[in-house]
């Protein structure tokens, strides 16, 4: 129901447009038994995850989003919607990177007309940055406003803009990754 309602939001529907045709790629959804041990600020909670192809040069742009079963049972609809938007962005960014990369488009690799995400991906790949970091970076830099707007539209503006921004920020820390420079982004 939440996903269906989100799909009716203009900004969000743009993010899933590529996944809603009769052809591939697909965006699949399921629920899974992910870590759920809330304990103040020291607990271990995994809200959701997105699975995509690992191989370089893949033609597969489909993704599977798994939402934590306990989150679905215990969280507000607003929080679940925020998680759904976050995971959808992972799938969307993966789609954009592969579509803009050499798999789908003609060389040269670093054509300035390519989507900027391809450059980010190439940069992240060269530096060995984890894709989680790359995606969160992109979400903060390029898609944060769209995510907030999607959530506000979904919620019919029942909360303040700051509350929507705070909800979307949830999960965008990169603390689980390993580069010191990420601390700058986490602040």
């Amino acid at each position: 129901m939440i996903i269906d309602n989100l799909a009716g939001c203009g900004v969000y529907s743009d993010l899933i447009a590529a996944f809603t045709t009769e052809k591939k790629p697909d965006l699949n959804w399921n629920n899974a038994s992910l870590p759920w041990a809330p304990k103040g600020n020291s607990g271990t909670i995994e809200l959701g995850l997105t699975t995509t192809d690992k191989a370089q040069g893949t033609v597969n742009r489909s993704a599977t989003v798994s939402l934590n079963t306990n989150i679905l049972r215990n969280s507000s609809q607003l929080m679940i919607a925020a998680i759904a938007i976050h995971e959808t962005l992972h799938a969307y960014i993966n789609y954009k990177i592969i579509t803009g990369g050499p798999t789908f488009t003609a060389p040269p690799y670093y054509d300035s007309n390519k989507p900027w995400l391809y450059s980010v991906d190439a940069y992240a790949w060269m530096l060995g940055l984890p894709s989680n970091f790359r995606d969160h970076w992109s979400m903060l830099d390029e898609y944060f406003d769209k995510a907030v707007k999607s959530l506000k539209t979904f919620d019919n503006g029942a909360h303040t803009d700051q509350e929507y921004a705070m909800t979307i920020l949830y999960g965008l820390n990169n603390g689980s990754d390993y580069l010191p420079m990420q601390g700058l982004i986490n602040r």
Binding site: K23, L47, K54
Partner: protein, 171 residues
Amino acid sequence: MLFGQHNFMQQQINCQIIVNNMKIVFLISMFFTTYTVNAQITPKADSAFYLLDTTKTLASDKLWHTYREGLVKFYELKIYASCSELMDKPTFAYSSHFQQPAKLSPDKLKLIKIFSLAELIYKLKQFAEEDKATKYDVKKPFYLYFIEPNSGGYTLVKTQLEGSGPKSITK
């Protein structure tokens, strides 16, 4: 979206594949021990050969739909399975950025055993079931080698089943 350690677990699903009007076309099958192609073969992969000749197939039997997007050519098999992502419109693809179809002489074609469409679907079903039980980071790719008529001869191209192969996770 992560707070702490990750622990991925896929939903267990069972499924029934429904195939309408499925008839045997031509086809080929064989394992790599009896035929060597130029393309690289990954030991931990599953694969098959398939001859796709749409000019000799009755319109009512055309379960294959091919299309292009940029440098990528897709081969979509129009069968549906709502509870198996791999078997729901299984789609094979390759990018001409990485390979061009290779010429295949009629003599070499004779060396290849042919999968029927029914055999291919059965093999895919087996693969999908095995894939379901495999951890996300060690999943095997499934390669399908398409053989198509071309200028009086044939071409061979290696495609990968979309959704098969190892996965990465973002949170």
